[in-house]
Symmetry: C2
Subunit: 396 residues, 2 copies
Amino acid sequence: MAMDWEKKYCERASAMYGSMTRQLMHLIADPEVISFGGGLPAWDLFPVDSVKAITNAIFEGDGPAALQYGTSEGYLPLRQAVAERYREKGFAIGPENVLITSGAQQGIDLMSKLFIDKGDVVVVGDPTFLTALQSFSLFQAEYLSAPLDEEGMQVERLPEILEKHNVKFIYVMPNFQNPSGITLSLERRKRLMDMARQYRVPILEDDAYGELRYSGEALPALKAMDTENQVIYLGSFSKVLSPGIRVSALIAPEETMEKLVFAKQAADLHTDNLAQRIVCEFIERDLLDSHIRVIISCYRKRRDAMLKAMDRYLPKGVRWIKPDGGIFLWATLPRGLDSMALFEKAVKAKVAYVPGSCYYAKGGGEGDIRLNFTACDEEKIETGIRRLAEVIADSL
Amino acid sequence: MAMDWEKKYCERASAMYGSMTRQLMHLIADPEVISFGGGLPAWDLFPVDSVKAITNAIFEGDGPAALQYGTSEGYLPLRQAVAERYREKGFAIGPENVLITSGAQQGIDLMSKLFIDKGDVVVVGDPTFLTALQSFSLFQAEYLSAPLDEEGMQVERLPEILEKHNVKFIYVMPNFQNPSGITLSLERRKRLMDMARQYRVPILEDDAYGELRYSGEALPALKAMDTENQVIYLGSFSKVLSPGIRVSALIAPEETMEKLVFAKQAADLHTDNLAQRIVCEFIERDLLDSHIRVIISCYRKRRDAMLKAMDRYLPKGVRWIKPDGGIFLWATLPRGLDSMALFEKAVKAKVAYVPGSCYYAKGGGEGDIRLNFTACDEEKIETGIRRLAEVIADSL
């Protein structure tokens, strides 16, 4: 008799099914489709030669150590380098606050494991980073949400929630949020931190794109305003060095570290040692900041090319918010158009995006679309937006 | 007011505290201590030069791809190479059955996520691999166990359990089990698979050490006897290539793959791309089997040195089971001696082991010790066992 797997899976498994974006992305395997749907860094900017030289130096210097087991906390010189880097950004931390994770997604997974029982409340924005929602949902979180506007999450909606519920944490991406590209204003950052203090609620600050600013003034991270040690911060090297080698840093109050390290050990023992050493050496050789400048210079041009093409081609009634950084741009279709319904037409016209409803915890965003502006060059961006404009105009 | 983290943690967090072995291992930082406590591969055997050459070839061939995002399932050529390797061992599988994980520990974590609700029953051996227990416990599993003897898990104890409970899976390490070094006999493998079929229960087969056999005849994996697609198999490259780069393979029935891939995506998006390419190329260049022969030749000598020293030095009343492979050896102290109590004396005498009680799901093993025989050379092994013998003799 064949196995009855359904009888064996746990409750949590009901949330595990191929995600909408995975399915959509399979539709656009056609290389002629200009895809604004993904979130990939530009292929041509990876510092392959530097990483190769560094890797050779690692194997020549202490090869066996890179291939041997490491500690669950992470490679100490990297934890030190990370702590130093963030101290310069105003974080009151040391290496003892740094846990190296296998990408920021693992940081989200560890947070879910440590904080979320079935039915526990997590506060998110509307919209929110999809894969974070997937991780929280896997641990059976309940969502309460605050909508975003041009200044980011409407934090004035939070006290009502915080009064009534034992909110496990507020998940927020203050800089160039995925999917919206929106930045949380300074005023709202201050108010959010005031509320966090008043209601003694933890904040999970996801700063995947913070270093990629193309216009406007840099704002302090919530962690830099964290006088009561309430913020757990996710920094990532995916967008500024390489997402393929999966190295990020979770920065947390020391009193939470023992449990986080335990969860990390149970998750994968430790993060790839060779990758940790590559990132460490890339920072220590002082290559990171100059590489970030190269990325910023390229991505700024691409953002501007997309904004210009949108201005030029998109029909009246489409609205969008200019992002000051990051890799995404959020647009709203003219009233009555459904971005999910439009998707198939767009793919036929050889352009793709992600429908906005994918990013809503509890419904919404049917008229919105997420556009990535970093993976294609300026020419393709213009062509793609022109195609998109035609699809929208045809549907009006 | 300071954060009250305890109010925010979930129930699961009560299982997250520094593990006994982590604490014990901190005690033996003294380099003069000869430690049989760890589970590290030998430092001097890592194929640093080959891996360096391969890494250079990867960066020269397709560097950007190694640094870019990959798919959650894993690097397809590696999945193909793994499938081919295991087909030769009698597995009826293809690449569609292979999910690349960040070490076998992540495979255990994904299994916990997919199968274990609070209070669900997992069957384990007594003793069992500690970090697997930690992962199952984090998901609030209940354990039912069958003791091991010289032929491995006493599978004849299982029907009584399987009759009464909806067992989510049976966790078993058939070859050179961690911590005991014991191998499940062919007869018991057959009976276990018969029971799995009869009771339609999944089996999680952890084969971290299967390729490291020093004596006796190779036995078929449970997965090679899996006519009804019930076995989920964990293969690892940690012990035969490098644990530092964290690449393992989870081999599962196709119908379970969508959920496993979802869980993998939520855990860390995908495994380190550079590491996956290194392992793939190491297999494709036909370096793995010859490297395994080098490891076997070295570890066999070390095992034999430890057995010889034990014969020569250990006082009467100490019993042990000769392992046919792997990296651990299990010994039982003379009646009345407690291995946890003896540990401090041992460290003072500059030798260390892991007390057996660390490996019992629900108590037991107070008279047992786990000894690793692969991390030290023969001379150190002899010296270490002599010191251990003196400590035991002094305590009798």
